[in-house]
């Protein structure tokens, strides 16, 4: 893939005109004309040579014949004059192509060069198939080996390997963990796109961004770019709107469990179907799916160190708090809501995109077996589901020109949450105050009161 990108880039240099074509055929029209008499033929021959019109069929004026159709490209400024002239001679015609430039634009290869980002030329403003995401993970680790390691999480039903990336600043301090997974639902393509963007942003900026470098001193970031790999691939190859995984049921006549109904949190109680053909089929039992088990086992094993669980979906523009299966608020509901509101406000500040905040049960629908609810019930205090852009205009099929703004604004929300976690759990030692003298006097007063008491 890197080689082919290189070839495309060098082609762009070799043929300078290719990517910098000035618009030349705007509103030019191609007319289909039917001359019937010799007089009409002669008139057309005159018209073509006087106005120097571009004959597409036949190629030369002398080959125009009565009874044979004629295709001419007429430059935009001449269109009316030519049509008037045809009308005057009662020559019948039809518009074959109303705007030649539009047709040209469609057939041009998509420009990749203008969106090139760092990290070996990977284009973060496009959607990538799973093969490319696997390659990206390898490259990211290779190019950032001091910070990033790729780890095996488990295997999918179709035996594909699930990897997560660990972003961890070397340190002798023990760290706590922020977990983020994307792509639990296959059709929500903006979600894996965000996980990739997030990794790129952290790695590009942590050295000169004081917030990021501060929280990386205390927190490790674990990112699973695509949880439902089989489903994601299926949405690329077979059915763009597929949601579930690809486990077969009923002798292979029915496929897929909704992984976000398959976790062990009030499993099977509400907002699910026990029918395999449903898009919210919850599986044969909690954690019946290999993908669910891979994630659940890992998170359970690191439970005491995970402070925050984030799971990214689309669409809806929501930050959802526990629970989906009941209206009973979680024990730390006030904190969850407060932080979510701050995150939503930070997000809105970028482009004005408005997000709603609340529990799944209250603002979306009832559901059980969600990964977010499960994470909270096993003791991860800050657990959120994000539903990214948009609110239904494009829905799951969000155009790639919205990848960048969506990721930029969501980045602000996620870093707000991470900052909060960092400040909450690590504010005693490493805090950066606005004035160093204030810090010094605080320390002194603490020492003084301590020694005095």
């Amino acid at each position: 893939m890197w080689l082919s990108l290189g070839i495309i880039f060098s082609l762009g240099i070799l043929i300078p005109g290719k990517f910098s074509l000035k618009v030349q055929y705007d509103r030019d029209q191609v007319l289909h004309i039917m001359p019937e008499t010799l007089q009409q033929v002669q008139h057309l021959q005159l018209l073509c040579s006087t106005l120097m019109l571009d004959l597409w069929k036949p190629l030369l004026p002398e080959d125009i014949r009565a009874g044979e159709d004629l295709h001419i490209r007429v430059p935009a400024p001449l269109v009316q004059e030519v049509k008037d002239s045809l009308d005057q001679f009662m020559i019948s015609y039809r518009v074959l192509i109303p705007d030649v430039q539009k047709l040209v634009d469609q057939s041009m290869p998509r420009e990749r060069s203008s969106h090139r980002q760092v990290s070996g030329g990977y284009v973060y403003t496009e959607y990538h198939p799973m093969e490319e995401i696997y390659q990206w993970m390898t490259q990211i680790q290779k190019n950032n080996s001091e910070l990033v390691t790729q780890h095996f999480l488990g295997k999918t039903f179709e035996n594909r390997t699930m990897y997560y990336l660990q972003i961890s600043q070397p340190s002798n301090k023990p760290k706590k963990i922020i977990w983020m997974d994307c792509g639990i639902h296959a059709r929500e393509w903006i979600s894996p796109a965000f996980c990739q963007w997030f990794v790129k942003e952290i790695l590009q900026n942590y050295k000169n961004d004081s917030n990021k470098s501060r929280f990386l001193q205390n927190l490790d970031l674990y990112v699973l770019p695509v949880l439902n790999i089989d489903g994601y691939i299926y949405s690329w190859e077979e059915d763009r709107l597929w949601r579930k995984n690809r486990s077969p049921y009923e002798n292979g006549t029915c496929y897929g469990t909704d992984l976000n109904r398959n976790f062990n949190s009030s499993w099977g109680s509400v907002g699910v179907s026990f029918n395999c053909s449903s898009d919210v089929f919850c599986g044969l039992g909690p954690e019946s799916e290999p993908e669910t088990r891979a994630v659940a086992q890992f998170i359970k094993s690191k439970k005491s160190d995970i402070l925050c669980y984030l799971t990214i979906h689309s669409y809806g523009q929501l930050i959802l708090t526990p629970y989906g299966s009941t209206n009973e608020p979680p024990s730390n509901n006030e904190e969850l809501m407060q932080v979510a509101k701050e995150a939503a406000a930070a997000l809105t500040g970028k482009y004005g995109t408005s997000y709603r905040v609340g529990s799944t049960a209250s603002i979306l629908y009832s559901n059980s077996g969600s990964s977010r609810d499960w994470a909270h019930t096993i003791g991860i205090p800050l657990s959120y589901t994000f539903e990214l852009r948009d609110t239904g205009t494009h829905g799951f099929v969000l155009p790639p020109d919205q990848i960048q703004p969506t990721c930029e604004e969501t980045m602000l929300a996620v870093t707000t949450i991470i900052d909060y976690v960092d400040k909450k759990y690590f504010s005693n030692g490493a805090v950066v105050l606005t004035s160093s003298s204030l810090g010094l006097s605080l320390c002194l007063s603490i020492v003084l009161t301590w020694t005095v008491s």
Partner: protein
């Protein structure tokens, strides 16, 4: 709440012109969901305050273009998997929105939420009268069940007379 009748909602809305983002128009609407009725669509009354932008020229151009096609237009997957719509199919896409709007309205209650997910297929059918006819298969996303269900809708359109649905047919019947 209106006793023995149903629930009425009074809405103040701002319409944004998809093709001219700075333009907004206010409107008010009254929506009545009838009690216990699972089969009838909600009553909707809308008043637009202000003017909708004239699209006469673009409408006529589109109309002429489609009428002058040698072969009937056929297209699928609008937008494509990546969310792109070729420019000359944009009006077809917009008409699909209109067609879906009708289907969604006819199938709405206070507990439903539908969006057009994608146009699976569209076929133009040439007519002897002046209307354009498009037979659509639209995929509607049902937020509650998360299902994406195909609906067949026939839309008639004329630049002066506007759009109307002549037929619609859901999965497993209307």
């Amino acid at each position: 709440d209106i006793d023995d009748v149903g629930h009425k909602y009074y809405l103040e809305l701002e319409l944004e012109d998809v093709l001219d983002k700075d333009r907004t128009v206010s409107c008010t609407a009254e929506v009545l969901y009838q009690l216990g009725s699972k089969t009838s669509a909600p009553d909707v009354q809308v008043t637009v305050q202000g003017e909708l932008r004239s699209t006469e020229e673009a409408d006529q151009e589109f109309y002429n273009r489609i009428r002058s096609l040698e072969k009937e237009l056929v297209a699928e997957n609008i937008p494509d998997s990546h969310g792109n719509v070729p420019p000359e199919l944009e009006p077809i896409h917009l008409l699909a929105w209109v067609a879906s709007g009708y289907v969604i309205w006819q199938n709405s209650s206070e507990n439903t939420k539908f969006h057009l997910a994608q146009v699976k297929h569209v076929k133009q059918v040439k007519r002897s009268d002046e209307d354009l006819q498009f037979d659509y298969v639209v995929l509607l996303h049902d937020m509650v069940s998360q299902e994406v269900l195909p609906w067949q809708v026939t839309l008639l359109w004329h630049p002066q007379r506007g759009a109307r649905v002549s037929q619609c047919h859901g999965p497993g019947g209307t």
